[in-house]
């Protein structure tokens, strides 16, 4: 049951990536290209996503524990520190160069795009690099 719900969450997410066309890097870059031929799609995706997720986060405050686990594991830190800033800037740089972020990159694998496959392998290498450098103490 627990695994089934996790898979269902993934299915909803993956379908959302395709239906919203966020799987297409050209669409994402057109959103980021604010001085060019701007495409507002990503704003609709974010706006649409914030409605149910915002509601869920409001509901969770009135719950003692999630339905299928012992406790909520939501990050509590409010500290805007150097890793957060450095990481967000490096991520933004990579995102702006290609137009893919982790969710859409995985969804793009299902189209058998060789570019998405190269990108995902490089992304995993980047995560591994972090694991054995800056993230080794975590």
């Amino acid at each position: 049951m627990r695994l089934l719900i996790a898979i269902l969450c993934g299915v909803l997410f993956g379908a959302g990536m395709i239906i919203s066309d966020m799987v297409n890097p050209a669409r994402v870059l057109a959103f980021l290209d604010v001085t060019g031929d701007w495409d507002p799609s990503l704003a609709f995706v974010m706006g649409g996503a914030l409605i149910p997720s915002g509601l869920a986060y409001l509901i969770h405050r009135r719950m003692h524990a999630p339905v299928l686990a012992d406790e909520f594991r939501v990050p509590a830190s409010r500290l805007i520190d150097r890793p957060l800033i450095g990481g967000a800037i490096l991520f933004g740089l990579g995102w702006g160069l290609v137009g893919l972020c982790p969710g859409p990159a995985l969804a793009a694998l299902t189209t058998a795009s060789w570019q998405a496959a190269i990108f995902v392998v490089a992304m995993l290498a980047g995560m591994t690099l972090f694991r054995f450098t800056a993230g080794r103490s975590a």
Binding site: G10, G14, I19, D33, A43, V45, M127, T128
Partner: protein, 142 residues
């Protein structure tokens, strides 16, 4: 690239938000893809590994299914091979260092008005937009 009706991104966004909301209320976890990849593949993330892998497997299945029955996806990549590799490395390293990506910070973090996520989302959006401006309009690199 053809413009699309706002109905598509809005519907897709609602599905992503439903996924994040359900994952929170059922499993108590943030539906952030970079974090789920890290915990699923033992690259330093936290949380039950099986659930992370289940989510990621579902993501692939849902994308495949939606691509077959709802909308044929088009993945149009403009970047050259070296840029794909550099971009992937930066996204992988940066999302782990900064504790999240567009889903973890952008959707789940903003939904609960986390100051960290608001700052991170503002920063990665601004950096990405600046990167596109430099590569497209200043240097014509892409």
């Amino acid at each position: 690239m053809e413009p699309i009706s706002y109905i598509w991104p809005l519907t897709g966004g609602l599905l992503v938000g439903a996924s994040a909301g359900l994952f929170l209320l059922m499993h108590g976890r943030v539906a952030g893809i970079s974090g789920l990849m890290a915990s699923g593949l033992r690259l330093g993330g936290s949380g039950p590994r099986g659930l992370s892998l289940g989510f990621l497997g579902g993501l692939l299945g849902g994308a495949l299914l939606a691509g077959l029955v709802i909308r044929t996806p088009e993945v149009f990549v403009t970047s050259s091979l070296p840029l794909l590799i550099v971009g992937g490395l930066l996204v992988g390293f940066g999302t782990r260092w900064g504790s999240g990506c567009t889903s973890g910070h952008g959707v789940c973090g903003i939904a609960r008005l986390s100051p960290r996520s608001l700052a991170a989302t503002g920063l990665f959006m601004a950096t990405a937009a600046l990167t596109v401006f430099v590569t497209r309009h200043l240097t014509g690199m892409i």
